[in-house]
Symmetry: C2
Subunit: 355 residues, 2 copies
């Protein structure tokens, strides 16, 4: 692959978001130095910081920058002064929901990897979690979270709907991904009860023959919630609808031992956004204790999205080396921890010089 | 308490259901021998076996027997030949859903207890799970599982509805139970997104002042799925709607180390059904390896429901003794395991002779 120019909208956001983005950008710059690519960064406000500055959690200039970018890097959003104020009319999260909707980001993709260095931090026994390595595809713009909702005289309702096309497009992404991994896809649904789940299962069964190498299995969501704890190693690619994905992917995130290492991507037909799964963690802001690795691994996912596989692999290798060398922030290393900035610099240096 | 006569509808169901029911009935007979009560058993078909025999997972004669009984003992239902066929028009689960609805069994109650003998079998590290003791109240006849569902030209839909009254009646049961335990109640919902969840939260906030000793907190379901693994000891009574309860209670069930020990009750205004939480486990059918203890502890919950507290306590004592003596089926004791029948006989013998 030749040298490329990519435009990246950077939304550092709130709390520790700016700190972890700073380290992720160091790594991007190291990739640029080493491989010659040009990354044009367009830093914009979103979240509580955008409300403070403009009154709007997603200002028009931010949305415009995201439309014009090849990819978006997001830190984290949210601030207790809005979250804990029930009278607040405008909330940081509204910006994120509106951005996902505007960009048509229909698939949320989360890898969950059980790094050996985290085994002691996992709530699961080591033999259950060691070696687990899964990738969860969660539908992000349909289902009950986006359905019609309201009140009746004596109650309330929420409607869950899915169209065939909403399922087809994310199912293909998940199948394609499975072919590059261990060729296993698990659909999580509740097809014994829900009509939308039966549609999901039908669509997956119809698409499956196009991916003959992929073994497909089906788990009811309640069983999946059990299997995630009992035997997480059984999973390769998981595909599921919006609400089930919310629950199952959050459950999966804690078994690995630290939220601080888990990246994510949200993709649509024409846009892609990359962000750590952790929140804005306002208590840690400015203390240099935030773990930048989840955001750095989000950059690796972005590089893969750009087709820069060698570059992405090098970033992941740098992270593995950093974990091996015990260059860790305090939640993973209580004695003699490294700072956010030191961890970022160590990884960026490996990318630029080592490997 | 004097000698009572109770009519019990027994629905052995599918897979290992008949085997575990046989052992639970042995224990009931031992209680009868020792205390002089008369238990009139009316054994009926439900589930896949009922479809095979009559075409209907809940034949009229079964429903009638349940209406006439003082309580219902259920084994397990479900068969892969129906579950894995999206074209199947009649499903075993429909029988169970219809039975719950017909009897008005609106509350499913599941204790989850971390028995010390099971700590090594729990997927969680011992320090996370030891001492966990919770009771989950899951609404059982409302929500998306019972809402209108169907197909459109290009998709499918499921409607979730709740009335205020459906929430009020189970919320009172959960609050009352909390006052007999550790006075903590956690509502699991998704009130940041769903209107039905906002109604649940409103109702619980309105009822809470009637139970001033009970501390109430609120968890979003995705966070609850994480907290159940990270710190299950924080929970006392959990209250939640039908689908969230399905997922969270199944997740909770595996952290204790074995599904084979966990009973449940489903209660309504005038009817009550008792069943192990495990499924029909068709692979194990007829092998003598199914653990009958969950069904036997379900009988203990039934005896409590009949007001037979001494009898219920004796059955639980017999189970504790059995665990202490390591009289266990193979999933808990790989070397020299006992059979389903041996475990049942050991417990029944203790109830009749020992104690
Ligand atoms: Mg979530
Ligand atoms: Mg279930």
């Amino acid at each position: 692959m030749g040298v490329l120019t990519k435009r990246i909208a950077v939304l550092p956001g709130d709390g520790i978001g700016p700190e972890v983005c700073t380290e992720a950008i160091k790594v991007l710059e190291a990739v640029s130095e080493r491989f010659g690519h040009q990354f044009e960064l367009d830093v914009q406000l979103m979240g509580a910081c955008a409300i403070d500055a403009t009154g709007d959690p997603l200002p028009e200039s931010t949305l415009q920058a995201c439309f014009e970018a090849d990819a978006i890097l997001l830190g984290a959003i949210g601030d207790p002064k809005y979250d804990n104020n029930p009278a607040a009319k405008v909330r940081p999260e509204q910006g994120l929901l509106r951005l996902r909707k505007s960009l048509g980001l229909f698939a949320n993709i989360r890898p969950v990897t059980a790094y050996d260095v985290l085994l002691e931090h996992s709530p699961l026994k080591a033999d259950r979690i060691q070696g687990a390595d899964m990738l969860i595809y969660r539908e992000l713009t349909g289902g009950i979270y986006f359905g019609e909702k309201g009140r009746t005289a004596d109650g309330a309702y929420d409607h869950c709907t899915y169209t065939r096309e909403e399922i087809v497009r994310i199912a293909h992404l998940a199948f394609q991904s499975a072919t590059t991994r261990r060729n296993k896809l698990t659909l999580v649904d509740k097809a014994n009860v829900l009509e939308t789940s039966r549609l999901w299962r039908e669509v997956v069964q119809q698409i499956a023959p196009e991916y003959p190498s992929v073994a497909v299995d089906y788990l009811f969501v309640d069983n999946a919630a059990m299997q995630m704890i009992l035997n997480p190693k059984q999973f390769d690619v998981i595909l599921t609808e919006n609400m089930f994905g919310d629950i199952i992917s959050d459950e999966a995130s804690v078994i690995a031992g630290s939220l601080g290492l888990l990246p994510s991507a949200s993709v649509g037909e024409t846009a892609a956004m990359f962000e750590p799964i952790h929140g804005s963690y306002p208590q840690a802001k400015g203390k240099g204790i935030a773990n930048p690795i989840a955001t750095i691994l989000s950059v690796a996912m972005m590089l893969e999205h750009f087709g820069m596989q060698e570059e992405a692999d090098l970033v992941k290798e740098a992270v593995d080396y950093t974990l091996d060398k015990n260059v860790l922030t305090p939640e993973l290393r209580a004695d003699h921890p490294f700072t956010t900035e030191q961890v970022g610099a160590f990884i960026a240096n490996y990318v630029q010089e080592g490997g």
